[in-house]
Amino acid sequence: MTVTGAPRAARDPGRPPRIPRLITGSAPVSLAEHLDRYGPPPLRADRPAAGRAVTGLIDEIDRAGLTGRGGAGFPAARKMRAVADAASRGGTFSSVGAVVIANGAESEPASWKDRLLLSRAPHLVLDGVALAAEAVGASRAYLCVHAGPVGPAAGPLRDAIASRDRAGLNRVPVQLAEIPGGYVTSQETALVGFLNGGPARPAFVPPRPAQRGAHRRPTLVQNVETFAHAALIARYGADWFRAAGTAAFPGTALMSVGGAVRRPGVYEAALGTTLASLLQRAGGPAEAPAAVLAGGYFGGWLPLPAAQHIPLSDEALRPAGASLGPGVLVLLPESSCGLAETARAVRYLASQSAGQCGPCSNGLPALAEAMEWIAYGRAGAADGLSWAQQLLRLVSGRGACHLPDGTASMAASALRVFGADLHRHLTRGPCQRVSRAGVLPVPRPPAGAS
């Protein structure tokens, strides 16, 4: 007997949802409403012993082609299988089981889809957590969110977990964990480090969390949206999931669309949708557009209108120097200076270094300075450009986490896409637009960040 959704879908009261699949209303969905709409999650009637993986769901997620929605886009089934294998391999950990972590600590400043998903459809996420815990043979789970005002309201999430406990739907104990703010604190090894009682800082891999993570057990870390998709794949099957999106990048993704659009917000889009059509859904440009940042602060700038027909998928965005990332689009108007915007973002990212790796803690502040020199320096700042280009090469791939790589990728895309501006800045000094209020959101570093 397996946990695949397709045969059970026929018995479900609700019809398979069309797009939007994940967030369907403007109010939080209670457990009763959730069960009314989707039916109960197809958990096994007999609870498997901890450490015994149930692989039917993993196979179905594999067929669905679900990729992680937290930014890296790694195949979800491969991650789950690695954890299930490690948990069932025997030895010390087989009897205590694996750990599941749902990552809702949304650090990307221009993204708010995880907080929206957790506040509107927490049970879809928690269904996915219970199903994944069963699939990988886990004995406990965590829902990680940022603490304080930058995170979602913790009370309703605790209530949602408690209501599922009463209904017997959690399968394993689920604990809400509040992670300190900061860009790198939600990196998966940082979550693991925090749950193990240390600081929320990225760690060197190996060991990967799938091998040895929280409580030194095999640990599955996935973005909360990934779990929500998994909960629907378990019910309606891989074919249903693949009915949206492209063959190579199936399904839908929650996209945070911000900047100079008329209706900034979170939109669920089929992968493969063009940038232009998603921007149109967000009301279209509020003023003449210059470029769009795709993939958030680890992504890249794309020129408009040249890039407007690029489809939303890593396959199409990466060769263009951007990415899908955690589903972020920020529209930059012509009235803003892309170089100044990038300099501000790079300065913010430099402030987010955990200070653990020399090339990052030295290189990112230097890169921020070089980008500021280019954006705000007097004419003749060509030295700043060659220093910036040298730094881009120097920091890439040299940290324990991807903060230096992501920052370099975004800065490099600015030097490429805003080439005409760059020339003007270098020959004539800063343009008037540098003094405009920033379009990219740049949070203040939390107190205590190093």
Binding site: A203, F204, Q356, C357, G358, P359, C360, N362, G363, L394, R398, G399, A400
Partner: protein, 74 residues
């Protein structure tokens, strides 16, 4: 490290958190390891050439923070 594994292609890997830029590896193995502007090692990509393996192993052994590793290439 077993003699058999020693013959397999290996590459140098750095734990950037452990590295404190003592620079011993840069002194020992300039053929493969250069210093960045802050004194941290930059390792040439790719497997370690056979004739440099003994030196690479020595650089691994003498790193004061155990930040340098020889791992199987691939």
């Amino acid at each position: 490290m077993s003699p058999r594994r020693r013959r397999e292609p290996q590459r140098l890997q750095l734990n950037p958190i452990a590295c404190e830029a003592h620079g011993v590896c840069i002194e020992l193995l300039p053929e493969l390891i250069a210093a960045d502007p802050w004194g941290y090692p930059v390792i040439a990509p790719g497997p370690v050439p056979q004739q440099l393996l003994p030196l690479a192993q020595r650089a691994v052994n003498v790193c004061p923070t155990l930040a340098l590793l020889l791992t199987r290439a691939g």
